[in-house]
Symmetry: C3
Subunit: 324 residues, 3 copies
Amino acid sequence: MPGPLTLGEIASRLGGRVAGDPRTPISQVGSLERAGAGQITFLSGPRYKTKLATTRAAAVILGPEMEGLTTLPRIVCEHPYAYFARLSQLFNPLTVQAPGVHPSAVVAPTARLGERISIGPHCVVGDGAAIGDDGCLYPGVTVYPGCLIGARAIVHSGAVIGADGFGIAREGEGWVKIPQIGRVVIGDDVEIGANTTIDRGALDDTVLEEGVKLDNQIQIGHNVRVGAHTAMAGCVAVAGSADIGRRCTLGAAAVILGHLSIADDVHVSAGTVISRSIHRAGTYTGMFPFDENASWARNTALVRHLAELAERLRALERKGKDHG
Amino acid sequence: MPGPLTLGEIASRLGGRVAGDPRTPISQVGSLERAGAGQITFLSGPRYKTKLATTRAAAVILGPEMEGLTTLPRIVCEHPYAYFARLSQLFNPLTVQAPGVHPSAVVAPTARLGERISIGPHCVVGDGAAIGDDGCLYPGVTVYPGCLIGARAIVHSGAVIGADGFGIAREGEGWVKIPQIGRVVIGDDVEIGANTTIDRGALDDTVLEEGVKLDNQIQIGHNVRVGAHTAMAGCVAVAGSADIGRRCTLGAAAVILGHLSIADDVHVSAGTVISRSIHRAGTYTGMFPFDENASWARNTALVRHLAELAERLRALERKGKDHG
Amino acid sequence: MPGPLTLGEIASRLGGRVAGDPRTPISQVGSLERAGAGQITFLSGPRYKTKLATTRAAAVILGPEMEGLTTLPRIVCEHPYAYFARLSQLFNPLTVQAPGVHPSAVVAPTARLGERISIGPHCVVGDGAAIGDDGCLYPGVTVYPGCLIGARAIVHSGAVIGADGFGIAREGEGWVKIPQIGRVVIGDDVEIGANTTIDRGALDDTVLEEGVKLDNQIQIGHNVRVGAHTAMAGCVAVAGSADIGRRCTLGAAAVILGHLSIADDVHVSAGTVISRSIHRAGTYTGMFPFDENASWARNTALVRHLAELAERLRALERKGKDHG
């Protein structure tokens, strides 16, 4: 972490235009509500302008159309949120774990570890698995045998990469297990949240392309492909063999059924179950609207009678026509 | 654990009124179905009175309005369920793990541990983190650096406290990671279920106030505030910056979207997605009603045509008025 | 793992009829798309017949009604998928972990371990717990005190068996914890996915009967009974005291509310919330249909006005009758 930088120094490193005193010293980032002396904050949209009026931050990052909302020293740039992210990276490390392999971690002799790696306590890296350069596994991550993770990975605690996919075949009353002999193959610059699970392929591999970002408690089934730079919020479930495009976003607790194909640049809202393939970019939603319990009960009872309501409507229409 | 207590001794410790023989000895609690000699059970509502008729328990705890349903020795009190909980605590320990720090746990030298603590195998407590007095961390809990947990915490296996929030900013095709420099701050008397994850704040802290109870597999996003004594059932997902009131209850697998505000004393039913702020206490529901698959398919197809149905209804109404 | 087997040898071990050269050597299984020399694939349905036309597999397993779709050497049998599973087991081990108890695992002296067991790094087996013969616990599994697991169990990383159920009783503003003194009792031939959690009973036991198969990230509440050979896909949540029959299947992210009873042979679709008991075998669904966001918003707004729409429809019908 560097010492303080002036606004001018920041702009010369990261771009943007300084308005106000370029000698303003900045040593950390902060929120509109809590930032104080020496801290810079950001305005991501007009929605927060009342908070801007009362912030005690030393400076602010904002877009050109909002420049006039404050007289604080400021950096004006096209993408204030991304700018803020880059700036925060100057003051704060991306990961907070000591380098090296913690003595309590169990790394198979046949596993391959890249340079400048950090593997936390109680991690397990199985036979023939590989972790790329600059990777960070927080405590308690398990990478099953044969799974490959690219460079600059950040994997949070409790994530499990490469457990068996859910492959079972009916036989009489019971089930026969299908050995899961594929791997998990993960590209560069991927982040995986705490307690997220990514299953190994049944026969071929499960694949996460470069730049994929997964939040916590996500489940990725066997033989899924997740296209580059797709991001998923917490608790998403992706069933086996789904093929998800590039630059998609999936909202919290969304569910993608198996064997579907999702085009590039598809955005799925939180709480939505995707039950058919989506062939066109766009935003898709399937949240059931919540309501006060009594209203919900009254209206919802009718959902189970919609076909009947529609039939009665049709009958009235026919009658109207006959009498019209 | 004490030896047997008589009903009379129990009532003198915990209150309530004894009906029947106060010398009845009790050494353990049990269910209506399985309780046997020396065991006391409870009746939480009239729904279970047929089971009461056949119980082999030695005694029963119930409310005054149900006192006449049995001739068994009994303790009559206002809140039989809470009474039962208190009594069970007399016979059973609240946590079952040996005191002290297990040698396989990794506790940073800068972490602060309270008195009478129990930290199980393979736990990790990071730099500058703190666990209050009488805290119990079951095996495999990870507490990231800087996170604070109050007194009498019970944290179950696999819980991850303080992993990075999901903070990423779009930049071109990909994403820039925003360092997550806030903490998790947890009050006294909090219980956290197995494999639950609570993310650290992006800039400010994620806060759980005193008495919060979280079941398993819950995801709490960054900068969430959970008010005192709020309880969440399994698999709830709370997205970033949601502000949840005091004494709320969230049913299993409920989803709270980000940046929302939920008033005190709000009850959210299971499987409900809360997509707007709730400003008034009450019960809110948004479960889609299930049905036999064929009926479901028939009715559900019409959900996607509701606007059209409503339009046709309006047309008929207009026509009726014209002809009326 | 054996060396190559000929098609004839395979059929003499596992049954089925060979068509084409019975001397065709097979050393591994593979997918229709990727199988190559020495590999056998399978056709599970007519949907994949175009892929069959271009496969480079050395042989294929298929049903009698599809035998004519290829001239490749083939094994014809009634249940190609189960046959394939059995065959894959000949070439591949069911579990990939070394036998024995890893030195980093913490097994209580009072725990009982069966024969030919494999307990991975950082596992914990508590006081009085038991793991049956041929069981495999992958890294980081926690089995709380007193919990019993049958023979041939496969438990994936991060699973937590026997954490406290969510038992709390309201008392004033807060909650009293109810000690969870039941156990988890699991039958033979059960597989449990990564990061799945199964809570111990409050008073009586939580029970999984033989042959139950659980995918990842599933939550089983206290005192649930899961009948034999029932299978659940990822992220299912089963609330406390639910009683689920035999041979059921629950789709991804389905939710079963508490204190319900589900008959044998019930199939619940993905994303469905089961809010009432189901007394008859069959398939049940409650997915809200997703749509493009704008259409969804238009139609969904009306769900909250269904009762009103129905009332207006009734008014028109009455009017029609009066004028009819």
